[in-house]
């Protein structure tokens, strides 16, 4: 099967899965909404809430997955993921600072914007910490990610505690740290959707570059790639997308790891196929994970980050082992 055929088939299958899971998300929940009630006035409020959540799930799932593909490609590291590398925490610090400074009221763009800045700084920090000459060794990168993650994490806890003392909305920050697709302000969904949409679109134009980068930066340059410019642009795109996702839904981990590797397993490593299909698969994955988050407890919801970490943690360890045994450095 050629790449084009794989892509076409994948889009049809995952597109259908997305439609089904979106419809499912409208029916699933603690309040019973019958299928024929979906369009009736009686259930309109519930359906709207669920549709907004599912929409945010699609945006965040697609964004985090594509961000994972970008980081894996540019850093040439199969274990890269915005959460593992501390990019999400960096975005979280930015977003939390903006929220606690009371800037959120200035517009739906402020918190995602601050998250974007935090994400860019975190990527830069991890990259500079991990780089040894021209290479970015796999394990050094992970270690740098761990460090940035824990520093950003402590800073977030510090922020939460200083606001505890002032008796302010710390609970929402705590909750938000675990990740949730609960939509209380429609403006955030629109802002996240626009940023993620733009980021994914740009990435689609750079799939060949991502492929070529896998053979190394200098060989890629010999094939006519403007390596430094491309890397910078893709880092910015990954930060934009991660920042938007984190600002809208908090820290949902491992999506950028689980989804792209799952898709690779079926369609192979070609980024021309991988990027669009990861976006779709990530959307389906997060919509279904959110169905679990909302329905698994008899009342209330589980933070969705708990579910993705539950799946992603063991998966990460598995990849780490495979990487050690089978990878070529």
């Amino acid at each position: 099967m050629t790449g084009g055929q794989k892509l076409a088939r994948g889009i049809i299958i995952l597109g259908a899965a997305l439609v089904v899971s979106f419809g499912w998300a409208l029916i699933a929940g603690h309040a019973r909404v019958p299928v024929r009630g979906l369009f009736s006035e009686q259930y309109a409020g519930l359906v709207r809430i669920r549709a907004a959540r599912a929409l945010l799930g699609i945006i965040v799932g697609a964004g985090l997955s594509v961000s994972g593909v970008i980081l894996q490609g540019v850093l040439r590291n199969p274990l890269a993921d915005p959460y593992v590398l501390g990019v999400s925490s960096g975005a979280g610090v930015g977003a939390a600072l903006a929220m606690l400074a009371g800037l959120a009221a200035m517009g739906a763009w402020v918190v995602p914007g601050a998250a974007f800045i935090g994400a860019v700084l975190a990527i830069l920090l991890v990259y500079l910490l991990a780089r040894e000459g021209k290479a970015v060794p796999v394990y050094t990168l992970l270690l740098a990610g761990v460090i940035v993650n824990s520093v950003a994490g402590s800073f977030l806890i510090f922020l939460v505690h200083t606001t505890i003392a002032r008796g302010e909305g710390l609970h929402s920050v705590m909750w938000w740290l675990l990740g949730s697709l609960q939509v209380l302000e429609p403006g955030r969904v629109i802002a996240a959707g626009a940023a993620v949409g733009l980021g994914v679109l740009i990435t689609l134009f750079f799939t060949r570059d991502l492929n070529v980068l896998s053979i190394g930066e200098e060989p890629a340059a010999h094939l006519g790639l403007r390596v430094e410019r491309t890397k910078k642009l893709l880092f910015v795109v990954a930060s934009l997308v991660t920042g938007a996702a984190v600002a809208a839904s908090g820290l949902i981990g491992f999506v950028g790891l689980i989804v792209p590797h799952g898709v690779r397993l079926v369609v192979g490593p070609d980024n021309k196929v991988l990027v669009p299909l990861s976006a779709l698969a990530g959307a389906v994955f997060l919509v279904i994970a959110d169905i679990i988050a909302r329905t698994i407890l008899p009342a209330g919801e589980l933070p969705i980050g708990v579910i993705t970490a539950f799946l992603g943690g063991p998966f990460f360890l598995y990849l780490l082992r495979r990487q050690r045994r089978g990878g070529v450095q």
Binding site: V212, G216, H222, G224, H261, K272, Q329
Partner: protein, 264 residues
């Protein structure tokens, strides 16, 4: 028109020039060897020719066009490179690119951002794989190959670029003698049959003597000697460039010079 013209080139990293005023012309269809001690600027010269390094002074012309005026893609359609060891991104298990996909990357300078490979591209890839004798590996993952097989795959990738000039940066460095000869024979064939200009960095003086029509020796970023191997490879020249005592003899089969190690 010459394949390459390097005029009074000075370039390097940061403020420190590595190449200092090199002038070199490579005519079409030539098989040229570049040699010199470690750190003499051989790889830097390749980077300057392919536009990866901006010249500090002087200029580089590829087929008459100034490298600084060419887009990276345009350079990549004129000059292909084979590196001494290409570090492939680590992949989990067998999820690496196949040889066919890697060779296909050689078509990058011809493809638009969003377009798929055309029949012409696929033909170029098939021809390149045949020339580099990696057809039987086409569907294997690049990470599963031996060093020699992998190097052939990257040679096929460079051939798929369809360039009139190929630059080699010690392409046989880590390989055993059979692979070394096999790969250099391949480029010799290419040079004879297709008229491809081959510019190769060599570590091994004898391989260079055997395959190159002309060799140039670099020392401290300057051109020290240039000419046919038989003229350049003399004990005096080797001593002054490498600082090593050698005895130069002649190969019984090709009549070309052969360098023997002279133990102190």
């Amino acid at each position: 028109m010459n394949a390459l013209e390097i005029r009074d080139l000075t370039c390097g990293y940061g403020d420190e020039p590595v190449i200092r005023g090199v002038t070199l012309e490579v005519s079409r269809g030539e098989f040229l060897g570049i040699l010199g001690p470690n750190g003499s600027g051989k790889t830097t010269l390749i980077r300057a020719v392919t536009g990866l390094l901006e010249p500090m002074g002087g200029e580089v012309l590829i087929e008459g066009a100034d490298v600084r005026r060419l887009q990276p893609r345009e350079i990549a359609r004129r000059v292909a490179c084979v590196m001494q060891d290409t570090a492939i991104a680590p992949a989990i298990g067998n999820l690496a690119f196949s040889v066919r996909e890697i060779v296909g990357m050689g078509r990058t300078p011809y493809l638009s951002r969003t377009g798929w490979a055309t029949d012409e591209d696929r033909r170029a890839v098939a021809d390149a794989m045949q020339l580099a004798e990696v057809e039987h590996l086409a569907d294997r993952a690049i990470t599963e190959l031996s060093g020699g097989e992998r190097q052939r795959a990257f040679i096929a990738m460079a051939l798929a670029q369809g360039c009139d000039t190929v630059m080699l940066d010690e392409p046989t460095n880590h390989l055993d003698i059979a692979h070394q000869i096999g790969i250099l024979d391949l480029f010799a064939r290419l040079n004879e049959r297709e008229g491809t200009t081959v510019v190769g960095i060599f570590h091994d003086l004898n391989l260079a003597a055997e395959y190159c029509e002309r060799v140039v020796l670099l020392k401290d970023g300057r051109l020290a000697e240039s000419g046919p191997p038989a003229e350049v490879f003399t004990a005096d020249v080797i001593r002054s460039v490498y600082g090593a005592e050698v005895i130069v003899g002649t190969s019984p089969s090709s009549g070309r010079p052969h360098v023997f190690v002279g133990r102190g």
